[in-house]
């Protein structure tokens, strides 16, 4: 200022400087801060016009009085201290709006020649736009950071080749098993377990190459909860480049896929385990879809048949199955496929070692269903039962031969017994003759047992043959009842109903009738009567035998027609028999085109019936 005086610069020049300066300036005089000078810039800044000149500041801008300016001006005016306001917020009534503005300003004391303070000078610039921009930027940055922070993905930023962790969101910290204290540290210091793993090297390379690196289901070992654990991540390392294209940081984004990978690996392991299990089975294990298309065959199948895995397994089966039985097997399979009921059938596959021969297999399959009860797939096996079949055949052959051989001595034994009986009768010795007769009866019983064994053998071999003829059913019933009555203690009561002529194997039907009646007698030891009835409905003849005997438990009623089934429970040993009679009867009736069944109440008695067609149609 001294220069202004010494150089005698004109008052007008100073005024020009004052009014044209690109900053807002004003001069306040006196202790009530009267606006003595105010350049157009400050008037614009205040939103006022020239009329304010000569008026006290707080009269012109009353709103700023309570915003701390009175104290500041007082301080400058009284103590002579310069005050610097930086980005100072001020609410101003300007052009009808009451808004916040921001200013940088300097309040300085104004002295007279006597060095006494006479006023305050103001130099100010408005920085409102800059502040608003900064604020907005900050908000946007904050929002972006918040977004990253709240992201489900693990995100981190590593700055410079030293890989300082500049940022890591909570998921990333959780991934690392660390807290926020690692931020600012070098990655390799924060996670020393990364040594020996490729990641630090890859990150450092990116500073050189500038290429993004992505990985899928990469395994990383991290110390989490105090122990080194393996995790799987899908992740990317993306270089952040400055305006010159130079990499200054790396953005790391990662998704933890450990659960998925572990789950899949465990399914794969489990699948492998069961596949190994299936492959180690001597049986052929397979699966097929609901349409019967084979989806898996175990190794045993391929090593037995010599087929390649490329070959369609369905066609392979067709190639080696005995051609005559194929349509029959297909029929059974289609029935199962429709109902979802287990498939079980025996058939022959070509023996790959001896192409002219076949081996017996047992094919079985069970369906697995989804929640809606729909078939998802079938799991099946083919089991080689050829040895078993051979043994069975040997057994059957043996039984056949043995029973035939047993009959030879029985034949002569029976003749001798009859001879003795006749001889004794002739000698007027009825007592001993009766002994010989009983001997003959027992030979008959023995013959029946042998015949049963022979019949079973024939059934097993499929050799039982029925020789059908037309016969008088009623006469047959009478004959059987008379014959049974001869040896029975029980009274056999017959509810007669004329049936007439029937076409069937007379001898076999009589065998079934005898079997049902003798069973009724045998299993009703405490009763005195058994009841026989016959009925005709449409073309079907029904023959029933009812007893008041021990009965059969509900769960055993289906089993009584099975081979070797015997009365179960404590009374078992008290009833004689091989357990073949009902089996033979049911096979005879089945082959006659009829059915055999039982109604029974345990402890009350049973009623066995068979139904056969009267005339074959």
């Amino acid at each position: 200022m001294e220069n202004f005086s010494t150089n005698n610069i004109s008052h007008d020049s100073l005024l020009t400087l004052f009014s044209k300066a690109p900053v807002a300036m004003s001069l306040l005089l006196g202790d009530n801060f009267v606006i003595s000078n105010a350049n157009p810039q400050i008037l614009e800044l205040w939103g006022r016009d020239h009329s304010v000149i000569g008026k006290p500041l707080f009269e012109v801008l009353p709103e700023i009085k309570s915003q701390g300016f009175e104290e500041i001006l007082e301080k400058v005016y009284k103590k002579g201290e310069i005050f610097n306001g930086n980005k100072w917020p001020v609410f101003l009534h300007k052009y009808g709006q009451y808004e916040e503005h921001f200013f940088n300003f300097i309040y300085a004391p104004v002295y007279n020649d006597d060095q006494a303070i006479i006023g305050v000078s103001i130099v100010a610039t408005e920085v409102t736009d800059q502040i608003i921009y900064e604020k907005k930027l900050k908000e946007s940055e904050y929002r972006f950071e918040d977004l990253i922070r709240q992201s489900e993905y693990s995100i981190a930023i590593y700055r410079s080749e030293e890989l300082y962790i500049e940022f890591a969101n909570d998921p990333m910290l959780k991934t690392w098993g660390k807290d926020a204290s690692v931020i600012g540290k070098r990655l390799e210091d924060a996670l020393p377990e990364l040594e020996g793993q490729p990641f630090i090297g890859i990150l450092k390379d990116i500073f050189r190459t500038g290429d993004t690196y992505t990985a899928t289901e990469d395994m990383v070992e991290l110390v989490v909860d105090g122990k080194l654990q393996s995790f799987y991540y899908n992740f990317s390392y993306k270089p952040l480049k400055n305006s010159e294209g130079k990499v200054y940081a790396i953005h790391n984004m990662a998704v933890n896929v450990t659960d998925e990978v572990v789950a899949r690996k465990s399914i794969q392991e489990s699948e492998k385990k069961y596949r190994d299990l299936a492959d180690s089975m001597p049986q052929f294990v397979w699966t097929c879809d609901k349409y019967g298309r084979i989806t898996y065959m175990n190794d045993s199948w391929y090593s037995y048949t010599g087929f390649s895995k490329q070959e369609n397994p369905n066609e392979a089966i067709r190639k080696i199955i005995k051609p005559e039985v194929y349509p029959h097997i297909l029929e059974i399979w289609e029935k199962s496929a429709k109902t979802g009921k287990p498939f079980e059938v025996e058939y022959e596959f070509q023996d790959p070692k001896k192409p002219d021969t076949y081996r017996w297999f047992l094919g079985r399959a069970v369906a697995s269903f989804d929640d809606n009860g729909e078939i998802v797939q079938w799991i099946g096996t083919f089991t080689d039962i050829d040895d078993f079949k051979q043994l069975q055949k040997q057994k059957d052959d043996f039984l056949g031969i043995a029973s035939h051989e047993l009959k030879t001595p029985l034949t002569s034994l029976k003749l001798y017994a009859q001879f003795i009986e006749m001889k004794l009768q002739k000698q007027q010795d009825p007592k001993n003759a009766e002994v010989a007769r009983r001997m003959n009866d027992q030979i008959d019983k023995l013959t029946e047992l042998i015949n049963d064994l022979l019949d079973v053998t024939k059934i097993q071999n499929g050799k039982i043959q029925l020789s059908e003829s037309e016969f008088d059913f009623d006469r047959l019933v009478e004959e059987v009842i008379t014959e049974q009555q001869m040896t029975a203690r029980h009274k056999i009561i017959f509810h007669e109903h004329r049936i007439g002529m029937v076409t069937a194997d007379r001898h076999r039907i009589s065998q079934v009738m005898s079997n049902l009646i003798s069973n009724a007698i045998k299993y009703s030891p405490d009763a005195d009567e058994v009841f026989v009835s016959a009925a005709l409905q449409n073309n079907r003849v029904r023959f029933s035998v009812k007893d008041l005997g021990i009965g059969i438990p509900q769960d055993k009623q289906e089993k009584v027609f099975e081979q070797y089934y015997r009365v179960s429970g404590s009374k078992e040993y008290t009833f004689p028999g091989l357990g073949l009679g009902l089996y033979i009867s049911s096979e005879i009736i089945k082959r006659t085109g009829g059915k055999i069944y039982v109604h029974s109440v345990e402890g009350k008695g049973s009623e066995f019936s068979f139904e056969i067609p009267k005339i074959k149609i």
């Binding site: 002569s412 009859q418 015949n451």
Partner: protein, 117 residues
């Protein structure tokens, strides 16, 4: 004539037949029986077994039926295998009887053939 490879059966049948007042010629081999038949023997009835240790009773029956001079002789085939009745009749047997049998039954069958003869 009775033919069976089991002497016990042949003997016991003989015993019963004699008791019934019938005369029996016993054979254990089909060829022996045929030899005798070819020498002119004419029994009232031939009763023979089906399995004869290397010979099949049905073949012998067919031989008899094929020979004009023998074809009228009634033949009864007996067997411990019941299911073979039809094949015995097919071979030309007049009757089939399952072993073991009741002598009464057998005798009445035989007498039936003697009467009609």
């Amino acid at each position: 004539m009775v033919l069976d490879d089991s002497p016990a059966i042949v003997d016991s049948i003989e015993m019963m037949m004699e008791f019934e007042g019938l005369t029996v010629s016993k054979f254990y081999k089909g060829s022996d029986m045929l030899d005798v038949l070819y020498t002119g023997a004419r029994p009232d009835v031939i009763l023979m077994d089906m399995w004869l240790s290397g010979e099949d009773g049905r073949d012998i029956c067919r031989h008899i039926r094929a020979d004009e001079s023998l074809s009228e002789i009634p033949v009864i085939i007996m067997s411990a295998s019941r299911g073979l009745e039809q094949s015995a009749l097919d071979a030309g047997a007049n009757d089939f009887i399952a072993k073991p049998f009741d002598m009464d039954h057998m005798v009445s069958k035989i007498r039936g053939y003697i009467k009609t003869d």
